[in-house]
Subunit: 197 residues, 2 copies
C-alpha cells in the first residue's frame, strides 16, 4: 500500500514535475521526474497550451492519488510571476477535472519538510531530495528537484493541517481518496519513524 | 461581413465575457454578454474548473474570430491578482486550443480606445460602452461592461500595432483568421469613420 503524489513546480520556461510514492513507513521512492520546457519566443498562449497538455499527459500516465503545487505569491519575481501563476491555474484545473485532491504548499513549507528548516537554499533542497530518494545524483534542473520536494512534503503532511488555509487558496486538504484513507489506516497500525526533521 | 470578438475580463468571483461584432464601417454591435461567477467558499481548483468550463462553453457557442483578454499586472491588487492571473491563463489556453487568435490589452489601452483617454473611470467606460453599442442601460456588473470594452478595443485595434508587445505577453496579433482577412479587405474598400476617439 503506497501513496503516489505528483508534485508540480509551475513555470513557463521550465515546469518541474516529480512523482513519488511513500510507503506506510513514510519512506519516499522516486517514480518519475520530468521538466516541461517551452521556448521563450513562442506566443504566451502556445506556451500555456503546451505546458497544460504536458501536465495532463503526465497526470494521466502516472495517475497520482494527490497533486501538490507550489504556491505562487504576487510578491515573487515580478518578471516571471504572472506566467507562473497562469501555469499553476492550469495545473489546479487539471487536478479538479480529474477529481484528484490537490494542495498548495509554500516554498518555506517544502524546505522545512525536506531539510528541517524553511530558509534552506536550492542546493540543500536538491541534496536532501537525492538523499531521501536514495539517488546517486541530485535531480537537475532545480525545478525537477523542487517538484520532488513538493511531492515528498505533501506526502508527509497530508495527515496534518491542510497546507492551503487562506481564503485565496483553499484546497481539498480534507478530501481523501480511497487510497489515501487506506494508507492512513495502514499507517496507524505501524510504527512511523519520522524522517527529515 | 462582420468581425466577431469575444472579450474576457478575468476574475475568480466575477469573470466578464462580452461578445460583439464590428461592421466594416467600425460600428460595434452587441451579440451577447455574460458574467461567470463562483462562490468564494469553493476550493480554488473547483472555482478555476467552473470558470474554465464556462469560458469554453461561451467560446464554443459564439465562435469568435478573435479573443481579447485584459492583461493582468503583478502590481495589481495583491489580494486578487493571483486568481485573476490563473483565470487569464485558462482563457489563453482555451483560445490556443481552438486556434483562435488572442491578444492581451491593458486597462489603459481599453479605456483610451472606448473613451478617448486612458485614465477614465469605471462609470465612464460603462457609459461609453452603452453609447457605442446603442444600449438603453449600462451593462452591469462592471466586469461585463469591461469585457465588452475589451472586445471593442480589440476590434478597433486589430489593424494596428499588436497590443501585446512584451516578451511575457506576446500574442497572435499578426495571425488573421480568414474572416479577419476578408474583413480587412472589405474595409479597405469603404470609408471608415473613426468612432470613440
Amino acid at each position: 500500500m503506497a501513496l503516489r503524489v505528483l508534485g508540480i513546480d509551475p513555470g513557463l520556461t521550465r515546469c518541474g514535475v516529480g512523482v513519488i510514492e511513500v510507503s506506510t513507513t513514510r519512506v519516499p521512492t522516486l517514480v518519475s521526474v520530468h521538466t516541461l520546457r517551452t521556448a521563450a519566443d513562442l506566443p504566451l498562449e502556445r506556451r500555456l497550451l503546451a505546458i497544460a497538455r504536458g501536465l495532463e499527459a503526465l497526470i494521466d500516465e502516472f495517475r497520482p492519488d494527490a497533486i501538490a503545487i507550489e504556491r505562487v505569491f504576487a510578491q515573487n519575481n515580478v518578471r516571471t510571476v504572472m506566467g507562473t501563476a497562469q501555469v499553476s491555474g492550469l495545473a489546479l484545473r487539471a487536478a479538479a477535472e480529474r477529481d484528484i485532491p490537490v494542495a498548495l504548499h509554500t516554498p518555506s513549507e517544502v524546505k522545512a519538510a525536506v531539510t528541517g528548516y524553511g530558509s534552506a537554499d536550492k542546493a540543500q533542497v536538491g541534496q536532501m531530495v537525492a538523499r531521501l530518494l536514495r539517488l546517486d545524483e541530485v535531480p537537475k534542473p532545480a525545478d525537477a528537484a523542487d517538484a520532488l520536494a513538493l511531492a515528498i512534503c505533501h506526502a508527509w503532511r497530508r495527515d496534518g493541517v491542510p497546507a492551503a488555509a487562506t481564503s485565496a487558496g483553499s484546497a481539498s486538504g480534507t478530501r481523501l481518496t480511497p487510497a489515501q484513507r487506506a494508507w492512513r489506516d495502514a499507517e496507524k497500525s505501524v510504527r512511523t519513524p519520522r524522517l527529515g526533521g
